[in-house]
């Protein structure tokens, strides 16, 4: 800065700035600025591309090609049955980025910068979850295309199909807020990463995502039927027309999966949006 700044020492003139920030205090524009910033980060970090693009392709190919022939589902083929499970798993993992991102931003201190700026207190969280939703949407599209290539088909029409996709994204978006709150509490990005893995992996495997719940041993079967991941997958599967004739458990979430997912998403948002915003307004590095 030396030469430039030194010149100003003599002239005592800084370039003209604005005396105060503008008067507007708008959630959409603040949130958009944060979203923009998060999307730039995705663009610049190859890890995100790997996660959002390559990993979903790999999962679809692996599961459908490796297990496709060996797992039988009554009334449909395994590829059809499987896709909703992979969608569900992928978008839930995608939602954990919100926790990772908040923890990382706290660690970097950038949250402290944001908190000294005249922005809406919900803007950072909204921008965070919106960017992660965008990334999840990209993953979703890629999985759908890959699925179609390997022979997956939906059978209930385009509207039901879109409904299923929307439901997956809605649920993952709500879950993003849960993760964002956890991220601000745990504050260590690596811990968030590992913990997400440790919790989500068993959760998706002890569900109907990849196998039919009734093929699981007794206690696991009960768990799977009440597992929210199962409800999500079941809801998407039914909207895609991929259920086949697999028997449906009479556990409540399995009988009304769509309603359960909708209610669950709304509840998560109603509880965790205010909690996360409150937490944000009093969180600070060091």
């Amino acid at each position: 800065m030396t030469t430039q700044l030194a010149r100003h020492t003599d002239t005592a003139h800084l370039p003209h700035g604005h005396r105060t920030g503008g008067p507007r205090w708008s959630l959409p524009s603040d949130a958009w600025t944060i979203t923009w910033r998060n999307l730039l980060k995705f663009k610049r970090s190859p890890d995100y591309v790997v996660f959002a693009v390559l990993q979903p392709i790999m999962f679809v190919l692996l599961f459908s090609q490796v297990y496709g022939g060996s797992i039988r589902v009554e009334g449909t083929n395994y590829t059809d049955y499987l896709m909703a499970g992979i969608f569900g798993q992928t978008v839930l993992f995608g939602a954990t980025f919100s926790g990772y991102g908040m923890a990382q931003d706290l660690k970097d201190g950038i949250i402290d910068r944001f908190r000294t700026l005249p922005m809406h207190p919900a803007a950072v969280l909204l921008g965070r979850t919106a960017a992660d939703l965008a990334l999840n949407t990209v993953s979703m599209i890629i999985m759908i295309l890959t699925g179609l290539v390997v022979g997956w088909r939906f059978h209930e029409g385009i509207l039901a199909f879109l409904g299923g996709v929307a439901l997956l994204l809605l649920f993952s978006y709500a879950f993003s807020w849960v993760m964002a709150l956890i991220g601000m509490m745990v504050r260590t990005p690596e811990v968030i990463n590992n913990a997400s893995f440790m919790i989500l992996f068993p959760l998706t495997f002890i569900s109907n995502a990849f196998v039919q719940a009734q093929n699981l041993p007794g206690p696991l079967q009960a768990f799977a039927n009440w597992n929210p991941v199962s409800a999500l997958v079941q809801a998407a599967r039914s909207l895609f027309g991929n259920l086949g004739q697999s028997p449906v458990s009479d556990a409540l979430p399995m009988r009304y999966p769509i309603a359960m997912v909708l209610i669950g998403s709304v509840l998560m948002l109603a509880i965790f949006v205010p909690l996360a915003v409150t937490r944000y307004t009093r969180t600070s590095r060091r």
Binding site: M1, T2, L5, A6, T9, P15, L40, D112, R285
Partner: protein, 332 residues
């Protein structure tokens, strides 16, 4: 109207089952257009004070106003007129220098175009033009620091808070930043800065608050503070270290505080009330005792003397700015 006003601020943290009084009844007042230096040893509460004033943390009790606005109830308005740079650079690693500043400008609601133009100006001002379009990830500590400082100047703030702004800057950048601060003050900005560098406080601050253990323990201009701890120092340089004992005895009789002797035993110093007359008397006695001198003189105390006398600690630089500690405010 004072531009910064704090009254009886208290903030207690619980760490390892012990209460730490980060702020313990801190009060201060800064008139418009002045530069105030907060000086204090590590853990004195400087950062905590700045964080309260910049609305980052809420005090347990006490009140504070910035630009006439209550930091607790009018936090949003305060943020609109204040620029700040914390002790550790708060920048986005994945954005370029320019994008970082553009983002700050947009969040001050300058509008995208104005924010971008301002970002360019500041990048030039802070001599980061070549690096400005590269992600901050690859910046050195001092470069990050400069981006962060530039972030504090995206608006032309009415009140500027700088927490150890020159820690981690090379000497040239440091002097250059002093120039920027002076030109801002010339434009009417009120500045509160914390520093570990006594020279910096001496050079920049109109008035200094010495704080220790969350409280103001002394306040005044640098001259006033120096006067407060005793008018002068008498310093002697002996020819022969064998005379140390005799010289020390004579100085002790005239001094108002302890005599300090350096390792060689040939340099002695003592605080005294009236410099010239005391020096004359001491010199006469030294001559009588046959103590030979290389040099003898009076010097005014430095801020280092002030700091040492008032706090009993040595001023020392903070740890590496790139390695912030992680303590959660809300969790405490």
């Amino acid at each position: 109207m004072p531009m910064i006003e704090a009254h009886d601020l208290r903030k207690t943290y619980r760490a390892n089952g012990e209460d730490v009084h980060a702020l313990d009844g801190l009060s201060l007042q800064v008139p418009e257009g002045r530069v105030i230096g907060l000086l204090g040893p590590n853990g004195a509460g400087k950062t905590t004070a700045v964080k309260v004033l910049t609305t980052l943390i809420r005090p347990d009790s006490g009140t504070a106003r910035v630009a006439g606005l209550d930091v607790l109830t009018q936090a949003r308005e305060v943020k609109r007129v204040v620029g700040s740079s914390g002790q550790y650079a708060a920048v986005d690693e994945n954005l370029t220098g320019v994008e970082n500043l553009e983002m700050v400008g947009r969040l001050y609601h300058l509008g995208t175009r104005a924010a971008r133009a301002r970002a360019r100006e500041l990048i030039d001002l802070f001599d980061l033009a070549e690096a400005g379009d590269r992600p901050v990830k690859g910046f050195s500590g001092g470069m990050r620091r400069r981006i962060d400082l530039a972030g504090a100047l995206v608006i032309d703030p009415q009140v500027l808070f700088l927490d150890e702004p020159t820690t981690g800057l090379d000497p040239r950048s440091r002097i250059a930043l002093w120039g920027v601060i002076k030109s801002l003050v010339a434009g009417g900005t009120t500045v509160l800065l914390t520093t570990q560098y006594l020279e910096e406080a001496d050079h920049l601050a109109d008035s200094i608050y010495v704080i220790d253990q969350g409280r103001v323990i002394a306040e005044g201009t640098s001259d006033e503070l120096k006067a407060q701890i005793g008018g002068h120092r008498i310093a002697l340089a002996l020819v022969d270290a064998a005379d140390t004992g005799a010289a020390r005895e004579i100085l002790a009789r005239h001094g108002t505080g302890p005599v300090t002797v350096d390792d060689s035993g040939r340099s002695l110093e003592v605080p005294v009330q009236r410099g010239p007359s005391t020096l004359a008397a001491a010199l006469a006695e030294l001559a009588q005792a046959g103590v030979e001198l290389h040099d003898a003189g009076i010097r005014r105390p430095t801020l280092d003397d002030v700091f040492l006398t008032l706090t009993g600690h040595l001023a020392q630089a903070s740890p590496d700015p790139a390695a912030p500690s992680q303590i959660d405010e809300a969790a405490s």
